[in-house]
């Protein structure tokens, strides 16, 4: 037995060294931009290796001085290149009679006199210039000039801002994020129009060079939190960041936990709301999902609609979401515990119906529920993965087969089908939590089969303790309830207090500036009593 441990220890060391050795491609050495145009072109063409969409177009400035522009076709606005770069150099330069192309000593003169493009940047390193091409910029080389000019001409096919698929809302903005980083930042900027809204860029992924943007509001978000997010982002040293899910896994507090500690959303108004509460958002180029952190357990049950609907209805909606989370977690286990251990809890008439039905049934109630739950998961997954029309058909057929045929054939008892249907419906109310309940449900199922009610109680207590021990970016996961910040509980968890009464931001996020507003109860209709009116103003 002891040798087994020793072997395991050595094995883990070996694996660690192997990981060190095969580090990814080390960043290329610096190759300075050369004075001669031909060498530069040759160098950059070598980098791109003749790939078909890389364009290098030589031309003559005023028909005398040699120059060339390089760009990746499809990533740039070709119209802009023709109008703003080529035309001035080739045509307009001819109209100015005393213009001497060779007098242009450096890129500053070029940008000062000729180019009409907005964003320009000088660049001295060829590799860096090549990377700029990949980002949709145009690189200008001029013969006998030892630096290149990078002109921003980004403009590729972008998806229009459409209605988001996830967390649809009846009343509320319909804008959803798109894949392009710039559109997303613009969408947020239009909601929070103050300069303090910072958008710090970070590029991650050795091969994917994805652009990320850490967004926060300067004097609202807790500086320590912002530092922490940036520190964690910088620790990512991976090959590629394809979508925000990668980022989420790399920087979250509890990598192997079931419960998400980072929230993702497609709606800019939700992100704006969270930023104003003092949270930090990370926008990833190439995915419409923006991450906001820290994320607390109660946020699973908050949706954008709660803030547009009137407070009492918001309370009912939240109550339903919370209850349905609990129901979808516990019902199968509770059903088994009820039928196996605590029959006296079932009211007498119901007991007769269940006894009558379960006479000829092959499986005990535990196995029966397990089968039906597995079948339900199967159908749910099939329904989602298939394209829209086929998906609908599958879920209908599945429901019919599961429901009617199984009961009539006497394979499964009706109460089990009802219980599974109830669990299915309630698990969809809050999307972020639905995948958590699918796993925990089985954990409680087994405990209930073995220990009945006691098993369920112990299971729930373990889950509660586990939740209380998680931290999301150094804020407690069950924030307003567990460490008991009572003013917050009344404000925005189960009961969404009316907006005019939310004076401070949630204390659990330790915001830099806690005061949100100085409003008081708006009463506009008792102006006939001047005394009260005056004093208030």
């Amino acid at each position: 037995m002891f040798s087994f441990f020793k072997k395991r220890l050595r094995h883990s060391q070996i694996r660690k060294q192997a990981a060190e050795a095969s580090r990814g491609p080390s960043p290329k050495p610096q190759t300075p931009v050369d004075a001669s145009l031909a060498k530069n072109l040759h160098g950059i063409k070598a980098l791109f290796g003749g790939s078909e969409d890389f364009v290098a177009r030589p031309f003559l400035i005023r028909g005398e001085r040699k120059a060339a522009i390089c760009y990746v076709d499809g990533l740039v606005k070709s119209g802009l290149i023709h109008e703003a770069i080529l035309k001035p150099f080739m045509i307009d330069s001819r109209l100015i009679n005393d213009m001497d192309p060779f007098a242009l000593a450096s890129m500053e003169d070029v940008t000062a006199a000729f180019l009409v493009v907005g964003e320009v940047r000088a660049e001295t390193d060829l590799n860096q210039a090549a990377e700029m091409c990949l980002n949709g910029d145009v690189v200008l080389f001029i013969d006998k000039m030892a630096e290149a000019l990078v002109v921003n001409a980004k403009g590729w096919e972008k998806r229009a801002v459409t209605d988001p698929q996830t967390d649809a809302v009846i009343r509320g903005p319909r804008e959803g994020f798109t894949e392009s980083l710039r559109t997303n930042t613009a969408l947020i900027r239009r909601r929070i129009k103050i300069p303090e809204l910072r958008m710090d860029p970070i590029t991650l992924g050795v091969r994917s060079r994805t652009h990320l943007c850490v967004t926060y509001i300067e004097n609202v978000a807790n500086p320590a939190l912002v530092e922490e997010v940036k520190r964690r982002l910088h620790t990512i040293d991976t090959d590629a960041i394809i979508n925000s899910g990668y980022v989420e896994e790399f920087i979250e507090d509890t990598p192997l936990s079931l419960f998400p500690t980072i929230y993702y959303t497609e709606k800019p108004d939700v992100v704006a709301g969270k930023l104003l509460e003092g949270r930090v958002a990370v926008i990833t180029d190439g995915t419409p999902f923006v991450l906001t952190m820290p994320f607390l357990f109660m946020e699973n049950f908050q949706s954008a609609e709660d803030y547009t609907v009137r407070p009492p209805i918001a309370f009912v909606l939240r109550l339903i979401r919370l209850l349905s989370f609990f129901i979808s977690l516990v019902t199968p286990a509770f059903y088994i515990a009820l039928t196996k251990y605590h029959q006296e809890l079932i009211p007498t008439p119901l007991l007769f119906t269940m006894a009558a039905i379960s006479d000829g049934l092959p499986f005990p109630s535990a196995v029966e529920t397990a089968i039906m739950l597995a079948a339900f998961e199967l159908i749910k997954e099939a329904g989602i993965r298939l394209p829209k029309p086929v998906g609908q058909a599958i879920s209908i057929v599945g429901a019919l087969v599961m429901g009617q045929a199984a009961t009539q054939a006497g394979l499964v008892s009706a109460p089990v089908v009802i219980i599974v249907a109830l669990t299915a419906v309630t698990s969809f109310t809050s999307p972020t939590v639905s995948d958590v309940t699918t796993i925990l449900r089985w954990f409680l199922l087994v405990l209930a089969t073995v220990l009945g009610g006691l098993g369920i109680t112990l299971g729930l207590l373990t889950i509660l303790v586990y939740l209380a021990s998680i931290k999301s970016f150094s804020t407690d996961y069950l924030a307003p309830f567990a460490p008991l910040q009572t003013p917050d509980i009344l404000r925005d968890t189960l009961y969404r207090a009316p907006l005019w009464s939310m004076r401070t931001r949630p204390a659990s996020l330790k915001p830099f500036d806690a005061i949100r507003q100085k409003m008081s109860k708006p009463n506009f209709n008792d102006n006939q009593r001047p005394g009260r009116g005056e004093r208030r103003r």
Binding site: Y341, H342, E344, L345, P347, T348, P349, V450, L451, G452, G453, L454, G455, I456, T457, L458, L461, T462, L464, V465, Y466, A468, S469, D476, L478, F481, A482, P483, L484
Partner: protein, 374 residues
Amino acid sequence: MNAKSRISGLQFFTVTACFLIGTFLRITSITSVLANDAWVSVFTGAVAYLPFLAVFLGLVKRYPGKSLFEINEAVFGAVAGRILSCVYTYFFTMILTTTLLDMANFIVGFIMPGTPITLVLAAFMVSCVYATRKGLEPLARISALLASGACLVLVVNSLLTVANADTRYLFPMFTLPFLRYVQGTHTTISLYFGESIVFLTLLPMLDTKTDIKKPMIASLLFAVVIAFLAVTREILTLGPLLPYVARPSYETMRIIDIETILTRIESIYAFIMISLTFFKACTLLFASASGIAQITRIESPKPILFPFGAFVVVFALQTYPIVGDFLYWSSNVSPFIFTIIEFILPLLTLLAAWTKGFIGSSQRLHVKKGAVRK
């Protein structure tokens, strides 16, 4: 366990309140001794506990932020201190075992007859150890939820049984022999109030200089109110049956019979009781584990929790296999054992601390006098 996990004053209040409610809701030995005057012993117990409390707070004032075991070593030096800590750790393990046995007998005896008791204890211990390994802070955090949940359940139950309550059961008052009142008060002090000696081991987890006097007294008062509510509810519904019933708080639940739905819901009430026992067991496990850690000088008791848990399970199974002995022990003999350990030992520590303090200050005085004379 790690140093940086801190508990705030409010959390200390919720932890102590949750612990005490867990203990008080299972007042069986009082109701069997004082039938319909059981509520008296809650108040006389509270009053009689005040000297205990004074000793407790005196120790805390003299050694703020130090756990019980550190105090022992500070007062009696390394070796003697550690022996005293051994006694305390054994005492905490004893309370832990009795709580577990009490809960296990309750489950096996009442709710799920037939399940082997080992199963119940093992499952309970695994989840307890898991929770304690996570450190005390998550437990402190959920204590607020558990305490409020317990109060809500108590109120709802009282409302449900109010239909069958009959205030005439309270009379005739004070007709029992005086010795029974002494036993009632003695049991309340030692078995219920005295167990708050455990909180001395939680002190190092507290934020630096939070004063624990106010939360401590607040939680004791809170527990007294809850205890009074629970006991009176039992007296009002069970009446003369009270002394004959093994688990009064459970039996009162069986009387609820509203329509055909809300009958026989006592097993749901039992599970709420189990979560409180879970919390109490975790705190006790933490206390005894940190005791062992202190004695054997290991820095964090986390790794030894699992074997210690296994030991407690087996120890519990072995001590009282027959339920009858256990019930007899817990209601008749344990008050004396508990009082000695909970009251007399801390009193000795305090006196020793004072005398040390006195000698110490007299030397300083002496020196000062000396200095003045020179």
